[in-house]
């Protein structure tokens, strides 16, 4: 079965680009901010990977990452950060690194991003959610 990747980004072009590029290999769900992502997760959906931006309206990436890494429901899900925020390392000072596999800065090389996603999903044994 295709693995599910949740993309969270408030930039429509980035979301669309990732959707089109990942659609062949994965089941892609995209959300325009942390709120939309949470609403989707709350419906009982568990993705195999989350790729999130940081600066977003309503619920931002830092809040979402903090909640997910502390949550008994979502802490096993690998996270990738794709953000244009500079000094990204410092912006995580107060958050446990948890399951953040990698931080990729925009502009990014989509070819490398695809490789990284593939690598993260293969290396990670994701416990089944029955």
């Amino acid at each position: 079965m295709k693995k599910t990747v949740l993309i969270i980004d408030d930039s429509l072009p980035i979301r669309y680009l990732l959707e089109v590029m990942l659609n062949r290999t994965y089941n892609v769900v995209s959300a325009c901010d942390g709120l939309a992502a949470m609403a989707w997760l709350k419906n009982g959906n568990i993705p195999d990977l989350v790729i999130t931006d940081l600066q977003m309206p309503n619920i931002n990436g830092w809040e979402l990452i903090e909640f997910m890494t502390e949550s008994n429901l979502y802490q096993h899900i690998p996270l990738m950060v794709l953000s244009g925020v500079h000094d990204t390392k410092e912006s995580f000072a107060h958050i446990r690194p948890g399951n953040i596999k990698t931080i990729i800065k925009k502009p990014f090389d989509p070819v490398i991003l695809l490789d990284t996603i593939d690598h993260v999903l293969k290396a990670q044994h994701v416990p089944a959610f029955s």
């Binding site: 072009p13 995209s30 709350k42 419906n43 619920i59 909640f67 429901l73």
Partner: protein, 384 residues
């Protein structure tokens, strides 16, 4: 207040004065108090919560919990800020009752509801999936950080009660107009590129022969470029440089026309020494671009669109502001070829702006307009 509320005044007249006074000191509306924790189920020792300033209420089971909530509302005009439900062997009955309660009393549905357990089992995660009112599973470990967790859940629930325009989507719907435009565009591409290739095939053969005769190496030069949706494909040109020209690029960095500025990288060198003599002629006449008609026929790109970029340039444009350019078809000619052609100093930003402009409004008619303006631009150009 001048608002007309007959029912309330009747009630006030009927109630004793004491009651009226007390009512005024209480908040009128029932508010959720984030410092009230309601535990349901077996008693849990929570000194750390009390010390954090929480007011803890305990209810043995569902029924007592409901009574407690009602009392909190009628006496203190407060709702609990969080309900912590102690998980036990038979959760089903209790959780079903809660499900019904939240369905009936929608004002309470925004109270964070946490499932408390010693260790998280698959059955429990399954329960969360089934009972969507459960916001989270917590263990003793989580209690010190309860405040931030509850605050997040509260924020989510409040925002989600009146959700702004949010988008969650898998596959995007293709609208009818776009499909028609795409078919017209592809049809036009195949007919024009196919016919052109047939008509100019003698010229192509002649050019190929001269390239072969002039210098060692292959006739075509294929570079990997990023087209629409960052699809990487082999982009064909006639070879205009000596073999291994790519390896010599590093040595020429100092001649780069676009080297000033922190913006995205473009490489363009005037009078590049790697170009062969016939190559220079091909470049000046744009004849080196002719093999791209094969790319058009293959469907890698279109006749009109944004220039497919070499990967080192393309990967600098995947930012929130610029990624839009990749959503449009890639093409041989486009807006920036017909705008200001003949000037060397069009900035990278100007080009991207034109790309994004095209991406936003491209359609078949617009393509035809660009096609019609291309020959004029070709004649005007000089050594760009």
């Amino acid at each position: 207040m001048n608002t007309f509320t007959p029912e309330l005044s009747v009630l006030k007249n009927a109630a004793p004065k004491q009651f009226e006074e007390r009512e005024q000191t209480m908040p009128r509306q029932i508010v959720a108090d984030s410092h009230i924790v309601l535990f349901v189920g077996q008693h849990i020792e929570t000194p750390e919560l009390e010390s954090q300033g929480y007011k803890c209420f305990f209810a043995q089971d569902y029924d007592t919990a409901i009574v407690t909530i009602e009392q909190l509302q009628s006496v203190f005009r407060r709702k609990p800020g969080v309900i912590i439900y102690r998980s036990h062997t038979d959760n089903q009955k209790g959780l079903n009752a809660w499900k019904q309660f939240f369905q009936q009393d929608s004002s309470c549905a925004c109270i964070p509801f946490l499932l408390y357990t010693e260790d998280v089992t698959p059955e429990m995660t399954a329960a969360v999936k089934k009972y969507t009112f459960i916001d989270e599973i917590i263990t003793t470990k989580c209690l010190p950080k309860l405040a931030s967790k509850v605050a997040f859940i509260n924020k989510f629930k409040q925002l989600n009660a009146f959700p702004p325009l949010t988008v969650v989507g898998g596959k995007r719907k293709q609208d009818h107009k776009r499909t028609v435009n795409a078919i017209l565009k592809r049809g036009f591409d195949i007919i024009v590129a196919g016919t052109a290739l047939l008509v100019i095939s003698p010229i192509l053969l002649l050019i190929a022969a001269i390239i072969k005769l002039e210098s060692r190496g292959s006739v075509f030069y294929a570079a990997r470029r990023a087209g629409r949706n960052y699809q990487v494909f082999k982009f064909y040109k006639f070879r205009t440089m000596v073999a291994d020209a790519d390896k010599k690029l590093q040595q020429l960095q100092h001649m780069n026309q676009y080297k000033n500025g922190d913006g995205p990288v473009f490489y363009k060198v005037s009078n590049d020494p790697r170009v062969t003599r016939f190559g220079a002629f091909l470049r000046n006449t744009s004849l080196d671009e002719l093999p791209q008609l094969f790319n058009v026929l293959k469907g890698d790109m279109s006749l009109v669109g944004n220039r497919p970029l070499p990967l080192y340039e393309a990967s600098t444009l995947t930012t929130d502001e610029w990624a839009q350019r990749f959503l449009a078809p890639a093409g041989i000619t486009g807006l920036w070829q017909i705008s200001k052609r003949g000037k060397k100093e069009m900035s990278a930003q100007e080009r991207i702006a034109l790309d994004i402009n095209y991406s936003n409004q491209h359609n078949f008619k617009y393509d035809m307009w660009i096609m019609a303006n291309t020959p004029k631009a070709l004649i005007q150009k000089d050594n760009v």
